[in-house]
């Protein structure tokens, strides 16, 4: 947690440069890992490819095909050349992870790019709702610390924040789609993606993610607001008997920074949780793509989705750092 008064010392221009550097290194680390993973797999990628080809198309002479694949990927080249080749393919404007095994002629990158927008819809809308609600509830809890509602909400929130997201999803499907049949259990739209059907299909997964993430936001804001409430300047303001709404505004503003930090720090983990929710609801986002790719052992798609996920998370982190000065005037990079 950021200590009070430290803020302007912590977020300086030097900090921003360091942050950007860190994010680049993180991206690069994932890139290297992405390259190494198929090499770490038990067995050889090529023999695996050959076997699965043989299984799917018995009787076909697979040797020339495998040779061609080896040539395309440069698999017979020395290690560092392979890595160079890989980097050149990935770091282009249209990253090339090779064709997907599952949807053969289609590029793995295109498969994930199609899916990512659904994930972003889920991530964006759910976090907007749960973050803003979480702030309100958290501040309310801080103002009413020790009262009955705060005492009930705290353990409830601990409980809610430890339920696996996908399990809430299963329960919701059971209740709303199987017993009451009011909302669709799966997919992102009916036959055609009209706005109405997209929204109807969004309700359940969105609700699940909001329920799962709101408690953490509320608890973080609660403790941040408590810290603000006990600080000297707030005591002084209190003594001035300002209007309650002005006072509330000041506390709210000062509790924003920690909760924003929490929001963006958690995205890297949260996006994985959203993947499991997508799997529960067969929502056509990245989670379902990864899930299907795993059961089909479609490695190019898995690599492409890991890369795209990392890009999303790192861009979100960068956006957060650039957002800080707007949220909190004490932060300035100039």
């Amino acid at each position: 947690m950021v200590r009070f008064g430290d803020i302007s010392r912590r977020y300086t221009k030097r900090y921003l440069v360091k942050r950007i550097f860190t994010l680049f290194v993180a991206l690069f680390a994932v890139l290297i890992l992405n390259f190494l993973l198929p090499h770490m797999m038990p067995g050889n990628f090529l023999t695996f490819y050959e076997e699965s080809l043989q299984r799917q198309h018995p009787g076909v002479n697979v040797k020339p095909i495998v040779d061609r694949v080896a040539q395309i990927y440069g698999l017979n080249a020395p290690f560092y050349e392979q890595f160079y080749h890989y980097l050149r393919e990935i770091l282009s404007f249209d990253p090339n992870f090779g064709p997907s095994f599952q949807y053969y002629p289609m590029n793995a990158w295109n498969v994930v790019v199609y899916a990512v927008k659904w994930t972003l819809i889920l991530l964006g809308s759910s976090q907007m709702i749960s973050w803003s609600l979480g702030i309100l509830i958290g501040v309310y809890m801080a103002f009413n610390k020790g009262k009955i509602l705060d005492k009930i909400l705290q353990p409830t929130f601990y409980f809610l924040s430890t339920i696996p997201l996908f399990w809430i999803g299963l329960v919701f499907i059971l209740v709303f789609a199987v017993y009451f049949k009011v909302l669709p259990p799966s997919g992102a739209y009916s036959v055609v993606p009209t706005l109405g059907s997209v929204l109807r299909h969004l309700v359940l997964p969105l609700l699940v993610i909001v329920i799962g993430t709101l408690p953490t936001h509320a608890l973080v804001v609660r403790s941040a607001a408590l810290e603000v409430l006990s600080s000297d300047f707030v005591q002084a303001i209190r003594a001035q008997t300002l209007k309650k709404i002005t006072f509330l505004n000041i506390v709210l503003k000062n509790s924003l920074l920690p909760s924003l930090t929490q929001l963006f720090l958690s995205i890297g983990y949260l996006i994985g949780g959203i993947y499991t929710v997508e799997v529960t609801f067969s929502y056509p986002g990245m989670g379902s793509v990864i899930y299907n790719a795993i059961s089909a052992q479609d490695y190019p798609v898995i690599q492409a989705s890991l890369y795209l996920t990392t890009l999303v998370v790192i861009l979100a982190n960068l956006a957060a750092d650039l957002l800080y000065p707007i949220v909190d005037p004490r932060v300035s990079y100039v």
Binding site: K18, R19, T22, L23, V25, A26, A29, V30, L33, N34, L37, P38, M40, M41, P42, P155, Y158, F159, T162, I163, P164, F166, W167, L170, V171, I173, L174, V178, Y179, P185, L265, I267, G268, Y269, I271, G272, G273, Y275, T276, V279, T280, G287, I290, Y291, I294, S295, Y299, I302, Q303, S305, L306, T309, T310, V312, V313, I314, N317
Partner: protein, 276 residues
């Protein structure tokens, strides 16, 4: 602390008490499962999709396995992943945090590495790694600790070491020529161990949830029938659409209740350390 003054603490601190009861219950359940299981959890022992009854307390699965036995059986792998991963987390977190906090030369590089780990999409990364390396419950605990657990712990440890470093007795120890490794891993560690143990309880929760998510996506060590794997099997068999709520409701609730127990324990302990 003797047992005599433990009791008033427990009755005053409801969080600690409730957490202790919950965690002890599940640990006892897992140990109990080592000696006795009502039915063989891996074999078909009854009718398919039988709802809960006296003979099958939590009902049966799509191929007639007893959910109650599976639940007891699964407790051991879920708890093992949680505690093992928590242990590895605290070992790495303590080592990195103490070295970074105590030796100023190492502070910057170690904290940068920590930041890099914090900036990565940890769960998706873990899913991808698990898909390629096919982990067992032991390797999955290790992976969770290395990718998700330690950076947070290391940060907390570092910041408390930083404030501890200026304490007079540490200064005295330094001036009187006690070797640094002795100060770091004897004096300092003794003071921050309670705090970091408390903090590492949160990584137990993270490990349990992460393992369940990996199982659900289909890359976890699901042959161990942990609670997460049970939910995954139920989902794959479309238990929800058959209305077989007993199959996935109990494992999921158990994960949540066990994790809440751990969280309550951690918050309870935290408030005690703050008083001290």
């Amino acid at each position: 602390m003797s047992a005599k003054n433990l009791l008033p603490i427990l009755t005053r601190n409801t969080y600690l008490f409730a957490g202790l009861v919950i965690v002890c219950f599940f640990v006892a359940l897992a140990l109990f499962g080592l000696f006795y299981l009502p039915h063989n959890p891996l074999e078909s022992v009854g009718p398919d999709y039988a709802p809960p009854s006296l003979r099958y307390l939590f009902g049966t699965t799509n191929i007639g396995q007893d959910v109650f036995s599976q639940w007891i059986f699964g407790a051991r792998s879920t708890l093992l992943v949680g505690f093992l991963s928590g242990l590895i987390t605290i070992l790495i977190g303590l080592a990195v945090g103490i070295v970074a906090g105590f030796i100023s030369l190492m502070d910057e590089p170690l904290m940068r590495v920590t930041d890099i780990f914090l900036a990565m999409p940890t769960l998706p990364l873990l899913i991808a790694i698990a898909e390629f390396v096919k982990p067992s419950i032991y390797s999955v605990s290790f992976l969770i600790a290395v990718l998700i657990g330690w950076p947070g712990t290391a940060r907390v440890v570092r910041s408390s070491v930083l404030s501890l470093k200026t304490q007079p007795y540490i200064e005295v120890a330094k001036l009187s020529g006690v070797p640094s490794y002795k100060i770091m891993f004897e004096d300092i560690i003794r003071h921050i161990l309670p705090l970091s143990l408390t903090y590492s309880l949160f990584s137990v929760i993270a490990a349990v949830l992460t393992e369940a998510s990996l199982d659900f996506i289909g890359v976890g060590p699901s042959t161990d029938y942990s609670w997460g794997a049970q939910i995954e099997l139920a989902n794959q068999a479309n238990a929800v659409l058959f209305g077989a709520w007993w199959w996935f409701l109990i494992p999921g609730l158990s994960i949540a209740i066990f994790s809440t127990g751990i969280a309550l324990l951690a918050y309870g302990l935290e408030s005690i350390f703050k008083e001290m």
